[in-house]
Symmetry: C2
Subunit: 779 residues, 2 copies
Amino acid sequence: MNLLNREFMQQLNDHSLNVDLFLGHFGLEKENVRVDHKGRLALSPHPKAFGSKTENPYIQTDFSESQIEMITPAFHSIGEAYRFMEALQDIVSLELDGEYLWPSSNPPILPDEEEIPIAKMNDPVADVYRNELADKYGRKRQLLSGIHYNFSFDDRFLRRLHDTLGQGEAYKDFKDAVYFKIARNLLRYRWLLIYLTGASPVFDKTYIDKCVSLGHSDDSKSYYFPNMNSLRNSVCGYRNDKPIYVSFDSTSDYVQNLNALIQQDDLLSIKEFYSPVRLKTAKGLNPLQELLEDGVVYLELRLIDLNPLHKIGISKDTMHVIHLFILFMLLKEDEPFATEDQIIADLNHDQMIAKGLEGMLHDSRGSQVMMKEMALTCIREMQEMVQLLHPYGEALLHILDGEKEKILHPELGFAHQIKAHIQKSTYMNYHLAKAKAYAEESVKNGYRFVGYEDLELSTQLLLKAAVKRGITFKVIDRDENFVVLMKGDHKEYVKQATKTSLDSYSTVLIMENKIVTKEVLKERGIRVPNGDAFRSLEEAMAAYERYHDKAIVIKPKSTNFGLGITIFNRAFSKEDYQQAFEIAFKHDQTVLLEAFMTGKEYRFLVMGEEVVGVLHRVPANVEGDGVHTIEQLVHEKNKDPLRGRGYKTPLEKIQLGEAEDMFLKIHNHHWGEIPSKGEIIYLRENSNISTGGDSLDYTDDIPSSYKALAVESAKAAGATFCGVDMMIEDITSEASHSNYSIIEINFNPAIHIHCYPYKGKNRKADEKILDLLFGEQLD
Amino acid sequence: MNLLNREFMQQLNDHSLNVDLFLGHFGLEKENVRVDHKGRLALSPHPKAFGSKTENPYIQTDFSESQIEMITPAFHSIGEAYRFMEALQDIVSLELDGEYLWPSSNPPILPDEEEIPIAKMNDPVADVYRNELADKYGRKRQLLSGIHYNFSFDDRFLRRLHDTLGQGEAYKDFKDAVYFKIARNLLRYRWLLIYLTGASPVFDKTYIDKCVSLGHSDDSKSYYFPNMNSLRNSVCGYRNDKPIYVSFDSTSDYVQNLNALIQQDDLLSIKEFYSPVRLKTAKGLNPLQELLEDGVVYLELRLIDLNPLHKIGISKDTMHVIHLFILFMLLKEDEPFATEDQIIADLNHDQMIAKGLEGMLHDSRGSQVMMKEMALTCIREMQEMVQLLHPYGEALLHILDGEKEKILHPELGFAHQIKAHIQKSTYMNYHLAKAKAYAEESVKNGYRFVGYEDLELSTQLLLKAAVKRGITFKVIDRDENFVVLMKGDHKEYVKQATKTSLDSYSTVLIMENKIVTKEVLKERGIRVPNGDAFRSLEEAMAAYERYHDKAIVIKPKSTNFGLGITIFNRAFSKEDYQQAFEIAFKHDQTVLLEAFMTGKEYRFLVMGEEVVGVLHRVPANVEGDGVHTIEQLVHEKNKDPLRGRGYKTPLEKIQLGEAEDMFLKIHNHHWGEIPSKGEIIYLRENSNISTGGDSLDYTDDIPSSYKALAVESAKAAGATFCGVDMMIEDITSEASHSNYSIIEINFNPAIHIHCYPYKGKNRKADEKILDLLFGEQLD
């Protein structure tokens, strides 16, 4: 057998189109039914955190109120689409209170048909449509969930292909022809794809209703048919109530046929055309009209089961297999696909469901081929395709080897594996355990936005919060954490989470400049450390007499990382004083001398007119238990998943380095020492989170008088988002004229430290940013 | 004779108060009458450019509409106050269209009394007051102009003095006692100050009216009395219609006496108390009440003539002399100053006006001292004061030596000198020539804000424009060109002239990032160079095939000074391409490849929704005249006062350096060559203004379609202030889809290049910034 069009492949190679063939845009959509902790369909409403069901482009409901649909944008790689779906699942899971995402295409324990809640869409047309579906197919059948795999070629590839092979036809027509050819071949060979991906072999007895009738009675709660690997792709699954055949020969025929079906009321709308492959347009508001005008934009493969073996219901390998299968469908010889061919394709599909690959392939031309043999041929030719066209295809070949094994050994297939697991447990227990395990993984990902881990944590948190409420985003410049957030026509450009349009340029410049900051604060009567600014060592030395008996800080005007700062909190000599200025002048041409403030430093995160969080940072430390050594206590504390290395986690691991070693020695401790229970051993002088310090949330413990001062300070600078650093003598007394001082105002405050403090609550600073940028979430 | 209180001086030295004694706050106020080009009183209204007469704190009208009053804020040094007054004079002079500032205290050629326009204040109270003054003193007398010298001690000095010498009394009382002592002594010794500063010896015959009656008739147009050095300080000058004596012993007596005079209608208001010395408060809204409550804030010396020998009417030396005189009045032994002492002080004053120093000093105690002898004693003791208390007083001693010479040789005095000049010319011609010469100096200062030359030119221009319309300012951080502009309660923080509250932070970040800029422009359908962004050399090399036959630019993403940029506008090898990327990657981790744009580059300065100016920059060049060598032509072109060195002028001098040398050689030229008439010889490849390039204004030559694109580009980024750099193929055709491209948008555009271009009009970008920040000037 020979399916590949080798001349076509040669042309691709000749025109250096082979590499770009493998480029494309990939997207996933999937549904998961929500269940309670016992595996019963959740009857609660769609969580409000996800905003409007119709406007959130990432998280919606499908047919049922209990059926969450997650949708990724299109990405340039399978990996990105995969990771985004994982992130969506993390975001959704974290909002489900005592509920889980059911990991199978087949429904969980269902109530009676009428108790299954149909999604309330606040849209009469959408509500009527869902009720019609319920009547026509039954609510239970509509709960079958799955994955849609969206694919389009790289536009530059298609255009170059058109330049090379197009024979004078318009680019749109050429492009449509490419996608229709693939659609025809996909429909014809879909039996193989279902064989390779099917993962819904067993179902619960509560599913038995309108859609499945069993001639025999049985005590067991879960059911399966001997060779069926996908209930969803079976006659009992998710397909039109009667077979529908339309032309796939051209866009115009296709559109014409479908319009006729809708006019004859054979279809409620184009959405009811449950073809395993759909030819999609960009907007999808009026898909058939858009098809005629703009042509095909991408392909949607709708026959993929949720695979409970994988957290997001599909593995990256499977995604690659589907991609290669699509390319194979392009490179295959074309074959006619009239109605009779479509009927034969349906037959092959159903035969595969009923018998696996153990039959003869139906064929309108009467050829005699075993299904299994054809399956192996397809895999072999896909490998050949990769070998001929992909310069670095090793990994793909390896994946295809795995698929070949599944054909040779049916027990390696997903459905067989799942069935085996269920037989060792129960349908419900197996899936529920998986659901809970995946939810646990999502909790562990907590602060992390899977696929965006290279961004700063604050930006990751902001984007996750945006996705949750359906604000779309685009990372415009990854290095700079520069994103644009979009909701309808409303766009907000945001850098590093808190640099937004809500702060004016002059506000930022005020905060950036310590002299100016003090000026605006003093003008509002807010306490700041007294001091002077010097522009030369001579000036500074002339002021020595004025300050020689005071506790002072000497610091460069504009550096921010503690560089060049000297603190004199006890007596100092003129030489010390001079040296401190010499050091500071290396960092800036203006050096500030300020009164040294006593008390503890607190970071007030101000957003709008509100203090969202208050933190106090303490140096790296461990608390003794009377049993473990300091070293052991450090290792234990470092196990906290919030602690990592290199600013990718909310806290950093405590190091066992020279600085810590030295600090312990100076304070008469050593690593092997066992501190008594409750004793706190510090390991650092400085309290930076970056050197293992702890962030302690004091938001609920700080008197509101200090919060009012922080808000007033932000207002003085005109700031919407800022971090106000305040020294406070004693937080048990209210703020007065003498017991606090504002050290500085920071214009790009980190938010993750308030969302994931070492001790304390998540203050949801990410949500607050979005409230201010886009308005608060409505109930 | 011995006037100094040496014990007091010793105490100052003992308590290290001597240095701070010389600190203080200095301010000047002065009036100048406006005249036309023939030296006649200008009858035109006060220029609208100066905004509201009552609200502009720097530039107002005095009694007459034709009498401009200029007021400096208080400065820490004489130099600053002096320079600010010069700047005010520059600002005012440049707005006077065909008019000049009359440089003498004595009026120019006056029309009849009734034709002298009284200032229209749009304030019934102020208008009534001026009319009452006109009736009481005559309008001509009110035109006598002069300088007020404002002084206060450094507050820290006064507080330390209070700590040292105060005997339990409140600080306010102590401070008032200090100022009242000085006031008493100043009034007693004012004859000497008038001798040293008087500069209005001659007057025009048109002044003769109510205020001067001459018993004899005379043909000459200008008059003087034999020894009179100051008409303004004479009985014919600016003093109350009858002598007024109030107590200077204490604040309460002083206030009580003055209140009584006002109640008796002896004074129209406190403003009519024309004492040579006034004790002033901060706000001055209700001065007597404020005096009682807050005490004296500063001293105002009102007896200083405008000195036509100096541009601003006073020299820095004279300002120092007055300062030392004030300090001397503090350190002198105190003497009683009852009404009889005040009458004697008036006598001495009038005697000095009539006879100079050639008489006996009147004295209530009957002592017999020659006025001249006392004058020399005062100077000697002032020198002693400086020697004893000022560690670096050399320059001051030298100034006092000069004053001594004036006493010994009356012909060295200002008045004698001026009289001599007038005798060689005429009263009118002498002063008008001075007026014109000073106006010329102001034109030369043009772009420069005297006293603020260390600031960037754009900031200097903005501040000058602000002062002109009465917006006050404070330079908060000189190094950073950070200022605050204030009008009533409205404050605007501005850095580098165009970084303001009108641009949001995100807007600036968009402009700062080339990738993001292109993104937002493309979204609006604005043309930008096509290209790619690469994050590794490998990625870049993989794209070689795509670009190898195109004209391209390779540049680091974020650097702005042309560093790391390579242009390939003809064929290039793979090695060239690689090298260009290697260089660019040294400057940034992301490198952009862009299509090389042809055409000329234009800078569009966008402010609000308006293109304020359009510039094209051309490389340093000279135009031949068929006579001079290239080198000579460069020297000639460099004489333009707009050209300087180090960014302190709108243009830079063309250099005769290596780069220029090399460039000439490559193009087969040499310095000694004589280009033919009209031939343009370029000396540089790059067109930067900083290397001698020319800025050519095209604002009126560019079709509005390009301007609309520039405004649209600014809007895309959300910018209020920006510079849009556009490549245009040919400005004779309107913008189309293919003949322009936006290269970048700059968020801190220089404005001085549009205000002072090499060729073209001043586009008043400085004014436009203020219009946008504070609203446009009303007519």
